[in-house]
Amino acid sequence: MSAPQINISDVASLARLTLTPDETAKFSAQLSQILGHMETLSQIATGAVPEVTPPAQPALRQDIPTPSLSIEAALSNAPAQANDLILVPRILE
């Protein structure tokens, strides 16, 4: 495995980020350096190693209602709202 050439703009767009040309250039260089450092990992033999963390028996939640936020509290941080709905610019399919 050699450090891959990432298309930074594609990855950024998956993460809903738009980079300036400056950022694109800077991040490309930095990330290829970082990914270069990560190459060490490909040398580690992990064939038989399970990827999963050991399963613990977690405490699950009983199906009993607990209080919700008041409508006011729930909407208190909304940048735009009307009729108790949070508003966004039109969603395009």
Binding site: P55, Q57, P58, R61, D63, S68, L75, L85, V88, R90
Partner: protein, 486 residues
């Protein structure tokens, strides 16, 4: 539009089912629809920074129960994963779902022949008795509901985070009728387990369809098209019928099928391109680090097992065997557990259980009753059937009793008394009526004796009229025949 013999369709379904829990999948907010917007939200289901999910054990049990009912392999340890994509109805911009280790794998849905569309229930397609294999069943959280206005959209987060079970079928379905029966048959199972109300028209069951066509005999699949906006079982059937014909026409013209998502427009009766799939989504699934793997083998599975209901196919076989109902009646009864329980009560003590089935499935059902709340006791139907069977009333009288029963519910025996309907079975009284009939209708007597046996009907009619419909018709027939041949 029927599929020309040289082409066949290949159909796979992804069905999302809303679960009957009190609370949401990962928080304690109420799982209920139709309330004021934003009234059932908390930091967790609103995706506030710092909030954490905790799985609802009941949702896991219901999913395991569904897996048990459908013969799936159940995972001893299951995991939740994050499915990453941005959408305003998704608070965290990732959905907690299951990817690598779903709760259930495999299994199947047997197609009930009587849950095919009515007009094809007699065809070989419906009678084939196929079972459709399932790929998997997993549990995830639902998204919020958006409302689109002219230049903006509004979001209500009440539905966000409610538990959603996703059932994925193999591409085993071949016809729109099979898809129709699949959804109906699956719904019967879900209802039996009290897993969901599973009403497509109410959004409690939602269905995405993948469909392609290929020449019969070809192994490879054609290019598949995904259909969206299917809001009823019949919508699924109509959309598939349209889409299959569209694809076949295109193929026959040598056109390529585009790999795309199409929207079913029920009014137009056609599908339209929604988006083309140039680039596959990259969901970047990975195990949700906020949630530990779930062990199902330490109590959850056992709890689900204790809730296993009588499955539709088992119930139907029992109804046929124990009550002598027809396969069709068994399917109708099996489809409504409350009605079925009502019927079983009604028929339990009755001499002719098949008669009770007829009363309930024809006459009673046509009054559109709610068997859960009707004031008419199920035992009344058994009694009514017995009154006919033991000759207390005849079938014409029984119709009257039934009408009265619907109007003023009371024991049929009482109604018979009240209306003075009891059949006259007394031989000497009937003999007198018969003598009168013979005396008053010499022509008919002559005809009968000349070999026109139908002429006896006029005499019977006379007796019935004289007795105000109370004469036992079978006995009248016997007595008349005896007197005429004397």
């Amino acid at each position: 539009m029927s599929t020309p013999a040289k082409w066949e369709a290949v159909i796979g379904l992804e069905v999302h089912v809303q679960l009957l829990t009190q609370t949401k999948m990962f928080c304690g907010c109420t799982n209920h629809y139709g309330d004021a917007p934003t009234s059932h939200v908390c930091p967790v289901c609103l995706g506030l920074p710092g909030s954490l999910p905790v799985p609802n054990e009941e949702a896991i049990r219901l999913t395991l129960l569904t897996g048990l009912m459908l013969g799936c392999t159940l995972a001893p340890v299951a995991r939740f994963d994050r499915k990453n994509y941005f959408y305003p109805d998704m608070p965290k911009n990732y959905q907690i779902s299951q990817y690598d280790d779903p709760l259930c794998a495999g299994g199947q849905v047997p197609l009930d022949p009587f849950l095919f569309p009515k007009e094809i229930q007699d065809t070989a397609e419906a009678k084939a008795g196929r079972a459709i294999r399932l790929t998997r069943i997993h549990l995830e959280e639902d998204v919020a509901k958006s409302f689109h206005f002219e230049d903006r959209s509004g979001i209500d987060f009440n539905r966000a985070g409610t538990p959603l079970m996703e059932i994925v079928s193999e591409a085993d379905l071949r016809t729109p009728g099979e898809a129709f029966s699949f959804l109906g048959s699956l719904r019967q199972v879900l209802l039996a387990g009290h897993v969901s109300h599973a009403d497509m028209e109410k959004g409690q069951m939602r269905c995405d369809v993948n469909v392609s066509v290929r020449p019969i005999g070809q192994k490879e699949f054609g290019t598949k098209v995904e259909l969206k906006n299917l809001n009823s079982t019949s919508g699924v059937r109509r959309a598939l019928t349209y889409e299959i014909a569209r694809q076949i026409t295109a193929c026959e013209k040598g056109e390529a099928i585009a790999h795309e998502t199409r929207r079913w427009d029920d009014e137009a009766g056609a599908t339209f391109t929604m988006r083309t799939k140039e680039k596959a989504h990259d969901y970047r699934y990975f195990p949700d680090p906020d949630l530990l793997p779930v062990r199902t083998d330490q109590g959850l599975l056992e709890a689900a097992r204790t809730r296993l209901p009588e499955l539709p196919s088992v119930l139907q076989a029992r109804l046929i065997q124990a009550f002598g109902v027809t396969a069709y009646q068994a399917s109708v009864l099996g489809a409504d557990r409350i009605l079925c329980a009502y019927f079983e009560k009604a028929a339990a003590q009755a001499k002719s259980k098949a008669t009770v089935a007829n009363w309930i499935l024809n006459d009673f059902l046509s009054t559109q009753p709610d068997p859960a709340t009707t004031p008419i006791l199920p035992e009344f139907f058994g009694e009514l059937a017995d009154l006919v069977a033991d000759g207390t009333i005849n079938s014409a009288q029984a119709k009257k009793v039934f009408a009265e029963l619907m109007a003023n519910p009371a024991s049929p025996r009482e109604i018979v008394k009240r209306l003075g309907l009891a059949q006259i079975s007394d031989v000497s009284a009937l003999g007198t009526y018969c003598d009168e009939a013979i005396a008053a209708n010499p022509r008919s007597v002559e005809d009968y004796r000349a070999g026109k046996t139908n002429a006896i009907n006029a005499l019977k009619g006379f007796v019935m009229k004289k007795s105000q419909g109370k004469a036992n018709p079978l006995q009248v027939d016997e007595i008349l025949k005896a007197k005429l041949s004397a």
